[in-house]
Point group: C2
């Protein structure tokens, strides 16, 4: 006879169905498991997708170029679309595997997307936590006319101004490519807030703006734009109504402690205005829609604001309904096409 003091019984997917109240069965179906792994899209919207974005081909949302043409590029009259391919390639802990996955992803983007559809452009996926390898990848593919930016993810291991990342900026500047920083990332065991782990998906999603705020502060104070005066950064899916208050605060504090950052030769807000672009989705929706125009005014105008939909994701913004208020014609042209045309060199 033995007494076995360690045996593992196993839950099947439906084991708890009889025991979990309906309210939590619904929760499990729609939101699934959320643990200490950073932002995770709700199960109820697999691939974070709009319910109607699943192609008849059986491919995942965003995976079928023909369906993308039919559902998005054609009916919305998209002159150019910037692909920001989100993949785990850039965040692998094995540096060489990360670089290999990024090379493969970029070659796939060329073969399956850029060479097939003249309206599409793409960001270069890079192993961003290994900036020397990222710079190599930028050098390898930057001359392809389809690549119009370098793509980073918002929740990097350190604030982006730190010199660890400078080889990426140097390579981007060398090739006259902007650097796009996109919502996401972060399953590194580090909480998304200054105060630990949030309870909800909705909370994590809203907290994400803070990663962008930290990058803006860091890029400015670490003197990145002094070191790389040609560098242009696009903040993608991070919102922007928080940017004017942040610039005001940074200017005010900098007046008192400028000697901590002697590398700056101008006000923080000057760098912000000259070097940062933002995309619209998810656009802040003021309670009085016309207040959006005030936000633009506080930004110093709309010359750095670029339209985006986030297709095919659940929080997609429609071009006809994204702005709750009519835009002056010149502003609309700037936001919908001209600012991106200029930043990305789209002729």
């Amino acid at each position: 006879m033995i007494i076995d003091c360690d045996i593992h019984n196993e839950l099947s997917p439906d084991s708890l169905d009889r025991f979990l109240p309906q309210r939590w069965l619904d929760h499990r179906r729609r939101f699934g498991s959320r643990t200490h792994t950073g932002s995770a899209y709700p199960k109820g919207a697999p691939h974070a997708a709009r319910a109607d974005a699943w192609p008849p081909s059986g491919l995942a949302p965003g995976a079928d170029l023909d369906f993308m043409r039919e559902q998005h590029l054609d009916p919305l009259n998209v002159e150019y679309g910037v692909l920001n391919c989100l993949s785990p390639a850039g965040t692998q802990l094995n540096a060489d595997y990360s670089a290999a996955l990024c090379r493969a992803t970029n070659d796939w983007q060329i073969a399956e997307w850029l060479d097939k559809e003249p309206r599409l452009r793409a960001g270069i996926v890079v192993p961003y936590e290994h900036p020397d390898l990222a710079a190599e990848e930028i050098d390898r593919v930057a001359d392809h006319p389809g690549f119009i930016q370098v793509l980073l993810i918002a929740r990097t291991a350190e604030p982006l101004g730190r010199r660890k990342y400078w080889p990426i900026f140097q390579a981007a500047e060398r090739h006259k490519l902007p650097v796009g920083v996109h919502f996401g990332g972060g399953a590194r065991g580090v909480p998304i807030t200054a105060t630990g782990w949030p309870s909800y998906y909705l909370e994590d999603h809203t907290d994400m703006s803070q990663a962008f705020q930290a990058h803006v502060i860091s890029l400015v104070l670490d003197g990145v734009f002094e070191r790389f005066p040609g560098l242009r950064i696009a903040l993608i899916e991070g919102g922007f109504a928080w940017l004017p208050p942040l610039a005001w605060r940074l200017d005010a504090q900098w007046q008192r402690y400028a000697d901590e950052v002697p590398q700056l030769t101008r006000r923080p807000s000057d760098y912000i205005h000259d070097h940062l672009w933002v995309t619209t989705q998810p656009i802040e929706e003021p309670h009085r829609p016309r207040d959006l125009l005030t936000v633009f005014e506080h930004l110093g105008g709309v010359d750095r604001v670029m339209f985006s939909t986030d297709y095919p994701h659940w929080d997609f913004d429609s071009p006809t309904r994204a702005f709750g208020v009519p835009l002056p014609a010149a502003d609309a042209a700037a936001i919908y096409t001209e600012n991106a045309r200029s930043l990305y060199g789209l002729t």
Copy 2:
């Protein structure tokens, strides 16, 4: 004979003076050492103090009541002053020692400050990471008329909405005391940003707003204000121009994912307006000063905005110069005295 493979040579305070360039000698004198311990005040302003705030008595800035009267309470015509005593009492890892230090600190506040100066009120210092002990301390001293809020620090171990902290809110509500959350805290090895450690003091100082943002999101989504409908929270030294964009974003996302947080019966912004107060220092200083009035408008008015100086700290705001724009008389009265009078029950 031996070969000793581990001997420690020691730097004296001036050992590097001959070897460090002047630029970094100046830096060391003014900013000192900054490592992975969160916000640290520059050495050039010990105790984070205004240069003129050192009392002739030789005590530290803020430690000498007579000097505080002479330099601050009398000349600035302070009707009431709210003491937010910053001390390491609340953050001790030994829970019982933390509670003992908090009890001693509150008894000292009664004996040396509240009983001696009728214009002063104070926050109850509590062992906030041990909420059951914090609730005990609130129960112990809440009846003293000098204590008009419970004082927490911004960088707690978890977002404040989490149920760990509910005993504090329950005790505060029981005694009809607001909870003040003040700038600071965080030397727990957890970075202040979603992307790791910032390079500069100035950066850390600006990043601190994000701790407040995370708390607002968490308090709302975790349903704290449904559970404790009488609870009022004052955000102290966190800024406030970021609050309207945050509320807009939260409302918009909540419309799509309200079923993740069924505990909410109202829009996130409704809880924010009804339950949150903010103090003015460090006030955001818009480039066009009149834009401050727009910020107030986006806040839904000034009825939750309370004046503060941060005396005796370096980033002190003077009552005559804090606002770069003339305030309407009714707004000025609300901000300078009436909102605090009402929140804190000052008659």
